[in-house]
Symmetry: C2
Subunit: 270 residues, 2 copies
């Protein structure tokens, strides 16, 4: 039976999920996972404790409990359950207090709350990415932090959105289409923002598959057309000395962090 | 001087950042933070070690090093630096191995890599959120997992995108505008998807501020208009028994996880 896992927090539980997920992904097992956010009251904590204990009684296995609970009175209730606690927050906070010579001042919702001073930066960046997706306007290129370039369906949109959401970066993106192929060049708005340009490319066979699932048996999705577009665009990246990466085997997280790594751009953190 | 912090990984370093950020946010201090992802080779690891040691020599303080390094030979080099290691991955992996009776099989890029089987689900969800943002089409409402409703600038777009990106949920969103106010009702495509509807509302004074920064001194941004729209839309949420939350003091993470909590929707994890 798949081991049962609880992610519990008095906030969003996103930190508990990310952390627990990273730890569990080291194991070649399937887990049955349940997230319980906003456990902010004694009575809710007692209910969660009963749920953990019920799982133990039913399965005979102590469930794994990853938590990031800031309030001590809530944490104590979860501690007293039959779950196996993985309390990464407190495991690391105590030694840090000693090293820094400063007491922790736990404040609820500080990690993923709105108090975070760069929150507006982030919302602005998300709106920017939306409004400047897929070359729908060239008006704001001068205000972009970054402009992703590439053929249709190579990963520009998810990457721009991720960069804005996770790192507060104003990322526009601009596609090169079939009509551009005869005489591929950079529009003026991009030419004058050359240092912001970053290219994405993709294996033509994979591109063909992705396009097929959107527009089957079209010229657009044909392997021939995919090969042509990728070749032309890669040649242009080289000609114009635009840095680029291949997205074929990479997730949006990997694409986004590689771009930051290559360009040396500053990341905000949320 | 602000304590120096390194986030280091042989992958994206996103897990190290999220984890370290959660721990450090418990302290009322400013930190000087540097992220170094993709430390995949011995020579890169040696360079990072030198950087950590230089920081120690320059500041006289041992820098904090949060890392999530999967490869043992890379990890050993970082361990041997002058930094203070916060190795959350291994701190928790060893006791888990014991409990599960299974050895960890560390695989690089498993946490934020593309191998994750639900990756396509996620990209589909992101594309869905983009294509069904701001009521630009009603064609796909039957395929949505969730439809967010509310006045312009109450937080629908960032929330939809976050839900798609973080949890793989196909979230559309639909705005109610000035023209709708005289006779506010649900379009047919929404009526027949009633169980998917979720409302967002916002404090009219905050809405006024947000709209002012986009379209100063317009009717759209006037406090009077903001009050009217919020009142009408909240009345409709009540009349139609659509669950809703106030976004005024909440981050996108909080809004997204509250929605999942209230609706009991399943989350994918990436």
């Amino acid at each position: 039976m798949a081991p049962k896992v609880f992610y519990i927090s008095d906030g969003t539980a996103i930190t508990a999920e990310v952390f627990g997920h990273a730890v569990l992904s080291q194991f070649p097992l399937e887990f049955e996972q349940l997230t319980i956010p906003f456990v902010e009251t004694i009575s809710k904590a007692e209910a969660v404790k009963r749920q953990i204990n019920d799982s133990f009684i039913t399965t005979g296995e102590r469930p794994l409990v990853f938590h990031s609970i800031v309030k001590a009175e809530i944490r104590d209730i979860i501690y007293s359950s039959e779950g196996l606690d993985y309390d990464f927050l407190n495991t690391f906070v105590a030694p840090l207090e000693q090293h820094l010579g400063v007491s922790a001042m736990p404040v609820l919702h500080r990690t993923h709350g709105k108090a975070n001073h760069s929150y507006e930066t982030r919302i602005d960046a998300i709106n920017f990415a939306m409004e400047n997706d897929d070359g729908q306007t060239m008006k704001h290129m001068d205000h972009a932090d970054l402009v992703l370039l590439g053929v249709s369906r190579c990963g520009k949109t998810p990457s721009s959105l991720y960069l804005s959401m996770q790192f507060g970066i104003k990322a526009a993106n601009y596609p090169f289409t079939e009509d551009d192929m005869d005489n591929l060049k950079l529009p003026d708005a991009l030419k004058r923002n050359k240092s912001k340009l970053f290219g994405l490319t993709i294996d033509p066979v994979r591109l063909h598959e992705i396009r097929q699932s959107r527009m089957e048996n079209s010229r657009y999705s044909s392997l021939r057309q995919c090969r042509l577009e990728v070749k032309e665009v890669e040649m242009m990246f080289k000609r114009e000395r635009i840095p680029y990466i291949d997205t074929t085997n990479h997730s949006v997280e990997e694409i986004a962090t590689k771009i930051l790594d290559v360009t040396g751009m500053e990341r905000h953190m949320f």
